[in-house]
C-alpha cells in the first residue's frame, strides 16, 4: 500500500544502496532539511491565511478576498513584498547578534520538528527522550527573542524581550507539568510509545478528569509560550510597538513572523500527539466495525486534522480575549496554573497507580 512511510523507507533504502552509510546519512540530512524548510514555507502561507480569515469572520469581516481565488494568493503576495523589502539594520545595533537572532529562533523551530510523528511510522527522529527533547529545545527560542530585543538597541524591544523571557520561562513550567501528566499515564517519554499507548482511545478520553485539566493547562501555557494574544505582551503593538521585533524589517522580520506560526504548529502538533492520539484514528473500545471504518482514513489526515483543530482553538482565543496585564499574566501562572497542575500531577499519579483510567 502506498503510504508516506513507505516512500520514505524506499528512499532510505535506495540511498543506502547507492552510497556508503555515512554519505547516505548526510544526504538524508540535506533532504530532510530541504523538506522541513519547504514545509515551513507552506505552513507560513497556510497559517497566515487561516489566521486572517478566522479573525475576519470572528469580527464580522470578510478578510482577504481579492488576490487570487477567494483571496488565496494574498499571503503569497505578502511574502513577495517582504522578500523584496530592504532588511534594515539600525545604526546603534549589535550587528552580528541583530542579524543572527531571527535565524536562532527559526533553527530552534526546525529542531523541534524532529520528533513529531506526521503519519504512521513517519517521523524524522524517533528519539527515546521525546518530550524531554521538546522541552529542552523550546528553551532555545527564548534566547533568540532576548537576543533580538537586546541587540536592537531600542528600549521598547528590550522591554518586550524581558516580558517575553519572563513569560516563556514561567509558562514552560506548567506546560511541562501538563506534559508530565500524559507521560505518567503512558509510562514512556518516547513519542511513538505515547502514540502507541492510545491505540484503544485517546488520552483525553481515557485519562478523563486529570487529562482534561492537563489539556486545558497545556493549551493555556503554550498560547503564552508562543507569545500570542491574550498573552502577547511581548509584542503588544499598542504599547511596545511590536516589542522585540520593532527594528526588524523585510526578510528578517518575516523569519520572526514565520517562526511564530511554525511554533504554533509545533505546540499544537505536540498537543495533538499527547492528548488526541497523534496519527491514531478515533477508536472506541470494542466497536470493531466503527474502528475499521476509521482506519480507512489515512493517518496523516488524522494528524493534520487534530493539529489544525488545536490551531483553530488557539486562533479562537486570540480573537476573543483581550490582552492581559503583566501582573495578571504572572498571577495566572504562579497562583492558578502552577498549583492546579501540581495538584493535577498528584491526582494523575494516584489514578495511574490505582488503574482508574480506561
Amino acid at each position: 500500500m502506498l503510504s508516506i512511510a513507505g516512500i520514505a523507507n524506499s528512499i532510505h533504502q535506495w540511498l543506502n544502496e547507492t552510497f556508503s552509510s555515512g554519505w547516505a546519512t548526510l544526504l538524508e540530512f540535506v533532504l530532510v532539511g530541504i523538506l522541513v524548510i519547504s514545509f515551513f514555507a507552506f505552513l507560513g502561507l497556510v497559517l497566515v491565511f487561516m489566521e486572517r480569515k478566522v479573525s475576519a469572520y470572528m469580527q464580522l469581516r470578510v478578510g482577504p478576498n481579492r488576490v487570487g481565488y477567494k483571496g488565496l494568493a494574498q499571503t503569497l503576495a505578502d511574502t513577495i513584498k517582504l522578500v523584496v523589502k530592504e532588511g534594515l539594520t539600525p545604526d546603534g545595533a549589535d550587528k552580528f547578534l541583530f542579524n543572527f537572532a531571527p535565524f536562532l529562533v527559526l533553527i530552534a523551530s526546525m529542531l523541534l520538528m524532529a520528533p513529531i510523528a506526521f503519519a504512521k511510522d513517519f517521523q524524522i527522529w524517533d528519539i527515546n527522550i521525546g518530550v524531554l527533547y521538546i522541552t529542552a529545545i523550546s528553551s532555545i527560542s527564548v534566547i533568540g527573542v532576548l537576543m533580538a530585543g537586546w541587540s536592537s538597541n531600542n528600549k521598547y524591544s528590550l522591554l518586550g524581550a524581558m516580558r517575553s523571557g519572563a513569560q516563556i520561562v514561567s509558562y514552560e513550567l506548567s506546560a511541562g507539568l501538563a506534559i508530565m501528566t500524559i507521560v505518567i499515564l503512558a509510562g514512556s517519554i518516547r513519542l511513538s510509545d505515547i502514540i502507541a499507548s492510545q491505540e484503544n482511545g485517546w488520552w483525553i478520553f481515557k485519562g478523563h478528569i486529570p487529562a482534561i485539566i492537563a489539556f486545558v493547562i497545556y493549551i493555556i501555557a503554550v498560547t503564552a509560550e508562543t507569545n500570542r494574544a491574550p498573552f502577547d505582551l511581548a509584542e503588544a503593538e499598542s504599547e511596545l510597538t511590536a516589542g522585540f521585533h520593532t527594528e526588524y524589517s523585510g526578510m528578517k522580520f518575516a523569519l520572526f513572523f514565520l517562526s511564530e506560526y511554525v511554533n504554533i504548529f509545533i505546540v499544537c502538533a505536540i498537543g495533538a500527539t499527547l492528548f488526541l492520539g497523534g496519527w491514531m484514528p478515533l477508536h472506541i473500545g470494542h466497536w470493531e466495525g466503527f474502528n475499521h471504518i476509521m482506519d480507512f482514513i489515512p493517518s496523516s489526515l488524522w494528524f493534520m486534522g487534530k493539529t489544525f483543530f488545536l490551531i483553530f482553538l488557539i486562533m479562537w482565543f486570540r480573537w476573543t480575549f483581550p490582552r492581559l496585564r503583566i501582573d495578571q499574566l504572572l498571577n495566572l501562572e504562579w497562583k492558578y496554573l502552577l498549583p492546579i497542575s501540581l495538584f493535577n500531577l498528584l491526582l494523575v499519579t494516584f489514578i495511574a497507580l490505582m488503574g482508574w483510567y480506561f
Partner: protein, 172 residues
C-alpha cells in the same frame, strides 16, 4: 576520516572557538551568547555520543536556566551595553600565566592517566534505569545526592519566598 569523526571535530571546534570568544569578547552580552553556543555544542557532543538524556538535561539546565538567568541579570545591569575597557597589561600577563599553568596541569594529568579503551558493549541506559538509579540505595544508587540536592533547592525556594515577602506592617 569518517563522517562521524568529522562531526565530532566540528562540534569540538565549535565548543572551543565559542569558549575563547566568550572570554575575549569585550561586550558582556556577546560573552553570554558565546557561552550559550559553547554549552549548546557540548550538548551536541552528548547527542553525537547517543547520550540523549544528558544532552537534553544539558540544554534545559544551561540554556533554558543558567544562560537565561545570566542574560536577565545583564539586562538589569546599568550600562550593560557599553563595551568593557581593555584590561591592564600587567593583569593580562598574570592571567595568561595562570591559565597556562592550569592548562599544563590538566594536560599533565591527562597524559599521566592511561585511558583504556573498553570495547565491551554497555547496555544503553534508558530513562527508566536513570529514574530507578536516582532513587536506589544500592551500589549504583544516587538517593543521597538526590535528596541533598532536593533539600538545597527547597532551602533556596524558601529563601526566595522569605526575601520576596513584603513585611506587612499591620500584622507584624
Amino acid at each position: 576520516m569518517s563522517i562521524s569523526a568529522m562531526f565530532f571535530y566540528a562540534l569540538s571546534a565549535a565548543v572551543l572557538v565559542s569558549a575563547v570568544l566568550s572570554v575575549t569578547s569585550r561586550n558582556i552580552f556577546r560573552s553570554a551568547i558565546f557561552l550559550l553556543f559553547s554549552l549548546i555544542s557540548i550538548a551536541g557532543i552528548y547527542f553525537w555520543m547517543n547520550y540523549e538524556f544528558i544532552a537534553a538535561v544539558q540544554t534545559i539546565v544551561y540554556v533554558g536556566g543558567i544562560v537565561v538567568l545570566i542574560i536577565f541579570s545583564i539586562f538589569l545591569t546599568q550600562q550593560a551595553g557599553v563595551s568593557l575597557p581593555a584590561p591592564m597589561k600587567g593583569r593580562m600577563i598574570y592571567a595568561a600565566l595562570a591559565s597556562i599553568a592550569g592548562f599544563v596541569l590538566v594536560v599533565m594529568q591527562l597524559l599521566a592517566h592511561p585511558f583504556k579503551v573498553d570495547n565491551s558493549v554497555v547496555a544503553s541506559r534508558g530513562i527508566k534505569d536513570i529514574g530507578h538509579g536516582l532513587l536506589e540505595t544500592g551500589a549504583n544508587g544516587y538517593v543521597l545526592p538526590f535528596e541533598l540536592v532536593s533539600i538545597l533547592l527547597l532551602a533556596a525556594m524558601i529563601g526566595c519566598i522569605v526575601i520576596a515577602l513584603k513585611p506587612n506592617s499591620t500584622t507584624a
